[in-house]
């Protein structure tokens, strides 16, 4: 049985059809990337899965049970967590607190026992701290030590991304939806995050669905790639197959007859297939 299944999902905003008849499946332990040009509906897919939007029609099944109509927090309870494209951290709280909050929904103590610090509550709190540190140590020493107590707003962008991933892991979800995990990272950090995503799957046992623009990251870790354009699935399959699909190339580059300048086309192709532009910088270090 697949872990996540989208079956004929539609969603429109006003007159705009954002997602049209989208179906795909996700097996346990897979890393699947969703790619597509800007405005293709990638983030909308995430919002639909996590309950921010309700599909107009179609169904979303997680481990065989429907997620449609559930509130976002109930969906996290089921085991699906996400990160946000434009970082939604609790900026005035510390790194540690950011990673403790997502564990709260597993807390089995009333607020009164937390006020009176009953042994049961304290034990859970201790476990929450352990889990938080464990998730944070996924990223090496970067978020440990004094960083635990720094408010998120003083962190670098890359560290914020890492904190957000740790936060998603800490929810205890089995399926993580990562929205552009490497945005704003330099090539070295991108490589590192690629490695971490792989370790998250291998060591943490997470199933991962990610939206990403950096093709080398997608190429490196994806088991499968799903290409979206105008809210529809253009192609699905292994990276190598997908990038050679004429429909995909057309979506990214436009038709041959288009009057797109050669430079623009080359630039787009750069983003799609070649290593990213930061490669030069990498060589320098």
């Amino acid at each position: 049985m697949s872990m996540l299944e989208l079956a004929g999902v539609n969603r429109s905003f006003g007159g705009l059809q954002a997602i049209t008849d989208l179906s795909f499946k996700l097996g346990e332990g897979e890393i699947v990337s969703v790619i597509g040009p800007n405005g293709a509906g990638k983030t909308t897919v995430f919002n639909l899965i996590t309950g921010v939007y309700k599909p107009d029609s179609g169904d979303i099944l997680f481990e065989g049970k429907s997620l449609t109509g559930l509130r976002p927090n109930a969906i996290v309870d089921r085991g699906v967590a996400r990160t946000f494209q434009n970082l939604r951290l609790f900026t005035n709280l510390t790194v540690l607190e950011n990673v403790l909050i997502p564990q709260h929904h597993k807390l089995r103590s009333t607020w009164l026992s937390s006020v009176f610090r009953t042994p049961g509550y304290l034990a859970q709190e201790r476990r929450m701290h352990e889990a938080a540190l464990e998730k944070l140590s996924f990223f090496g020493p970067r978020l440990m030590g004094f960083r635990l107590h720094q408010p998120v707003q003083v962190l670098s962008y890359a560290n914020r991304r890492r904190t957000e991933m740790a936060r998603a892991m800490a929810t205890g979800a089995k399926l993580l939806l990562l929205d552009e995990p490497s945005a704003g990272m330099n090539p070295k950090e991108t490589r590192e995050i690629t490695e971490i995503i792989r370790r998250m799957r291998d060591e943490g046992g997470y199933t991962i669905l990610l939206v990403e623009h950096k093709m080398n990251l997608v190429k490196d870790i994806s088991d499968r790639v799903i290409v979206l354009d105008y809210g529809r699935k253009l192609a699905e399959g292994a990276y190598a197959d997908v990038v050679n699909d004429p429909a995909v190339i057309e979506a990214y580059l436009g038709k041959r007859s288009d009057k797109t300048s050669a430079v623009a086309r080359a630039r787009a192709a750069d983003g799609l297939v070649a290593d990213e532009p930061g490669a030069a910088g990498e060589a320098r270090s």
Binding site: N10, S12, G14, G15, L16, Q17, T20, N47, V52, F84
Partner: protein, 400 residues
């Protein structure tokens, strides 16, 4: 993709059903009441309708200021009720305390001239333009002279009070709100509450701590009698004046917002202040203009309020209830939308006035008058829960 998928699903018949059903119920209720007691005749209900319209116009004028400011900087200008209060008091002083001694006259004339300068500015778009400066100077001299020598009539008192209050609105924006651009919404709201408290108590300090008589010309307050189906309907000329002035001001505002450069800049800023700034709109000036116009409308409402009800209450409480109710009206109509404010204001006038006329005290029923002041709040809460964007407003929910 089927073309039908692009058509938004809208059930257009629901609003019509609500409106027609409501009207039917109202008609039935009126006939029923007439059966219960002869006093509830056509003249009675006509009177209730025109009075609702009168009160609703006042609410609409105040609500416009709330909605304009909210539309531009997403701030509930809590102090707007107090701006309305200051408008009424300014008119009172201009109206029954003129002629002023020279120093006071110069001070007030300076404020008025500054307001006029802003207006000339709309037209010429440059404050250093000789035409603008000369105009302001002429206005300054003329007003100073007029204030120091004659007693103003109600119309000129209203106009002058509008400019004074408009300048006050701009000052509030400059001193209290502009330093907070980009701050959390709650901080801005708390500041607005502080400004409101400041104005209330400053009003006590500066104006009076008791209710102030407002002596409108007796032409407007005297008894006016109509015949409706042979029954007398008693009222006064204010019943005509208030909606008429309101209509003129609303039309002028609409023309300003849709036809002028600054009006267009205002709408652009309301859509997206950042982008507007990048497109060369002087956002701060647009916001100041919004405060100027909103406060001027509130001042007009304050003057007419005083004329309608004969006296203005002490400053500490005068602005609160009308202000909050007008805010409720803006929310009901759809905050951020100009037609919404007018619709909401008039609707609230009908809620407070016509509804109580539909359910008056009879032998069998104690009436709903006691709860009248809570209608605005209840209606607002219901609207916010059912349709947060208001009756004609657009959706302002947060994007993910």
């Amino acid at each position: 993709m089927a073309a039908s998928a692009l058509v938004p699903k809208r059930r257009l018949w629901i609003p019509w059903l609500v409106v027609l059903g409501g009207l039917g119920l109202v008609t039935w209720r009126m006939f029923y009441l007439h059966g219960v007691n002869e006093a509830f005749n056509a003249a009675f209900f006509t009177g209730a309708v025109v009075r609702s319209l009168q009160l609703g116009s006042l609410y609409a004028l105040i609500a416009l200021g709330y909605t304009m400011v909210y539309g531009i900087i997403r701030l509930i200008n809590f102090a707007h009720g107090e701006v309305f209060m200051v408008g009424a008091f300014a008119a009172y002083f201009l109206f029954s305390r003129t002629p002023f001694p020279w120093p006071v006259a110069l001070l007030v004339a300076a404020a008025i001239a500054f307001g006029v300068l802003q207006f000339l500015n709309f037209w010429r778009a440059d404050r250093r333009d000789p035409v603008v400066l000369a105009g302001a100077l002429v206005v300054f001299a003329a007003t100073a002279f007029a204030l120091a020598s004659t007693q103003l009539g109600w119309f000129w008192a209203m106009v002058a009070s509008m400019f004074v209050t408009g300048v006050l609105g701009m000052t509030i924006d400059r001193v209290a709100y502009r330093p907070l651009r980009g701050a959390p919404r709650n901080s801005m709201l708390i500041t607005a509450i502080a400004v409101s408290f400041f104005l209330q108590n400053f009003g006590i300090l500066a104006f009076s701590n008791r209710q102030t008589p407002f002596r409108p010309p007796s032409f407007f307050t005297g008894l006016l009698q109509f015949e409706v189906f042979g029954e007398p309907l008693f009222t006064s000329w204010m019943i005509v004046l208030v909606p008429a002035v309101t209509a003129v001001l609303v039309v002028a505002l609409t023309l300003f917002v849709t036809r002028t450069r600054l009006g267009k800049a205002m709408r652009a800023t309301a859509q997206d202040a950042e982008t507007a700034r990048m497109m060369g709109v002087n956002v701060d000036r647009v916001i100041a203009t919004t405060f100027l116009l909103g406060s001027m409308l509130a001042a007009a409402a304050g003057v007419m309020w005083g004329m309608t009800f004969g006296s203005i209450n002490q400053p500490a409480i005068f602005g609160i209830l009308p202000g909050i109710k007008a805010f409720a009206a803006a929310v009901i109509g759809g905050i951020g939308s100009l037609p919404g404010a007018v619709v909401g204001g008039v609707l609230l006038g009908f809620l407070e006035n016509f509804l109580t006329a539909l359910f008056p005290r009879t032998e069998y029923f104690a009436g709903i008058t006691e709860y009248k002041d809570t209608f605005a709040f209840l209606a607002m809460i219901v609207i916010l829960l059912v349709r947060p964007s208001g009756i004609v407003g657009e959706d302002l929910s947060e994007k993910v």
